[in-house]
């Protein structure tokens, strides 16, 4: 059972590392400029199919752009949006959750009411609503996703802090003269990191799918930036003539999200003693 648990973390971690490498080293890895159009080579199938070209491993799109290069560059947006959203949403959500849980009273009431309002929206809808009014753009997209995700961290951290603050080590830290904010952020919050890591991992998978969905709907980043979702949306019109335009970007999203979910599953198995008993 141990090896299987770590296998998930290894495989998931390897896929996530691949995404990071693709995103960071895209200019070095991509065989061509993802925007370069070669109209005479438009809609070329992948190399291994009949009439495929040696020059284009995964074929070309309707404007003769290299699919492999666009997929590699597309990973940058997924990675950037995923990491930035998880960081910002985590920071905002954990801070608010920790303050609400630790201090209680008015702080708790205000945070709980606000999070209730955000929980009343399905998160994809919040993102759609914000993008509809603010318009396309990477910054707007990260903000929209952050606003739709912070509440998950807030609720979990609040719950954990509520129980942690009654523990002996917190009483001891206070008895030694530790001030509230010091005790909270030095002793209490670090104990929530295991749960936060698990939600952050699953959260990143959700954010990547949501970003792709928004780009697919034309509400993500501007059209000239290659993203997996917008590639799928463009390729849809050529589904019967050039299925590779939708198959490859979709597989890129699926493999990435699958890997991150696998990693999340593995981390949860390790961190959650209740699950360990279930197995």
């Amino acid at each position: 059972m141990f090896s299987q648990r770590f296998l998930k973390i290894w495989v998931g971690g390897a896929i996530l590392s691949l995404l990071i490498v693709c995103g960071v080293a895209a200019p070095l890895l991509a065989p061509r400029d993802p925007q370069a159009q070669t109209l005479e080579d438009r809609l070329r199938p992948p190399r291994w199919l009949e009439s495929g070209s040696q020059a284009y491993l995964l074929g070309t799109d309707n404007l003769g752009r290299d699919m492999l290069s666009r997929i590699i560059y597309g990973s940058r947006i997924s990675l950037m949006v995923g990491v930035a959203t998880v960081l910002f949403a985590g920071l905002v959500g954990c801070t608010l959750g920790a303050v609400a849980g630790y201090f209680g009273s008015t702080a708790d009431e205000v945070v709980s009411k606000v999070s209730e309002i955000f929980l009343a929206f399905p998160f994809l809808l919040i993102a759609i609503a914000i993008m509809a009014f603010l318009g396309q753009g990477v910054g707007n997209l990260i903000m929209a996703l952050m606003l739709s995700r912070w509440v998950q961290y807030c609720r979990v951290v609040r719950g954990e802090v509520l129980s942690l603050k009654e523990r002996d080590f917190v009483t001891a830290a206070k008895a030694l003269g530790g001030r509230d904010f010091y005790v909270l952020f030095r002793h209490v919050v670090p104990n929530t990191f295991a749960s936060v890591t698990v939600i952050a991992t699953f959260g990143m998978a959700i954010v990547i799918i949501t970003e792709a969905s928004l780009s697919f709907l034309g509400l993500g980043v501007p059209a000239h930036i290659p993203t997996w979702g917008s590639m799928l949306s463009e390729g849809r019109s050529y589904i019967n003539r050039a299925p590779w335009l939708t198959i490859f970007p979709g597989m890129a999203i699926f493999i990435t999200v699958f890997g991150i979910n696998l990693l999340g599953d593995g981390l949860r198995d390790v961190f959650d003693p209740k699950l360990r008993r279930q197995r």
Binding site: P122, L125, L219
Partner: protein, 332 residues
Amino acid sequence: MNRLVRRTVGAIPVIIGISFLIFLLLHLAPGDPVTLMLGDNATPQDVENLRRELRLDQPILVQYWEFVSRAVRGDFGKSLKFNEPVMKLVAERLPATLELAFASLLVAITIAVPLGVYSAIKHNSLLDHAGMSVALIGVSLPNFWLGIMLIYFLGGQLNLLPVAGRIEYGIEIKTITGLYLLDSLLTGNLTAFWSAFQHLLMPAVTLGSALAAIVTRISRSSVLEVMRQDYVVTARAKGLNEKTVIWRHILRNALITIVTILGLQLGALLSGSVVTETVFSFPGIGDLLIQSISARDYKLTQVLILMFAVTYFVVNLLVDLLYSWIDPRIKF
């Protein structure tokens, strides 16, 4: 009863908060919404007229008050794109989304609950591992991609199912509830039923797949949790047969978590319908929302988002009510 009243009353400030947030979004939009709606060719006079017509020249709180007071009377104004009352458009499109949501829910429950329960009962078996792997794949599959792939293989390559719309062009259907499957059955129109069923199948599988994956995982863990309870051990110790233990003692108690998750996931179904309806050109509220966003019909967008949010909220309230039916220990 008290708790139900308390929850309903407690919902009011949340709904007011939601409506205010959505209302604020229109004013947070960069630039002037009226200029955005009319485009670059509009004259200053056109802009001024529309601004006055939409009452955007009033202070924000006045505008919000007018919006709310009209909304409680069911008057949400006119759509700029369609030049028709918003409520009429919603009434025309809502049944399609509801039909899709119910069908997806049915797909999810039919697949997920038996698979999850069986995986738990046979936990750590080959079937359990296979079931959980399928569930992990389902959670990771972007539903719009699944939809496109179904269109390609089942619609394009195998030509088995229609790829867009709600019913074949030319088939007349007498509308009673707006739910085509139900209406065609009520009027005995089997041709329409078959066509509507075929049109619904791929969108429902697309939308239901992610939900099925989540529900499978939750059903499994919830059954595993209940299986360890003392009353299950007692039931076995007093000699009840395994079937009775599973049906009467395990499933009944595990159902509470499953219903909660299904209720919470209905929101995801509603927002997922936006993507699925776009993929299949399915004429529901989600498709209307995307059309209104691309036409910059902010009034319609505002109302549709509000409707989605309120529906989600009401569904969660109804899920709470279902608890007392499933578990008589919970009283309102």
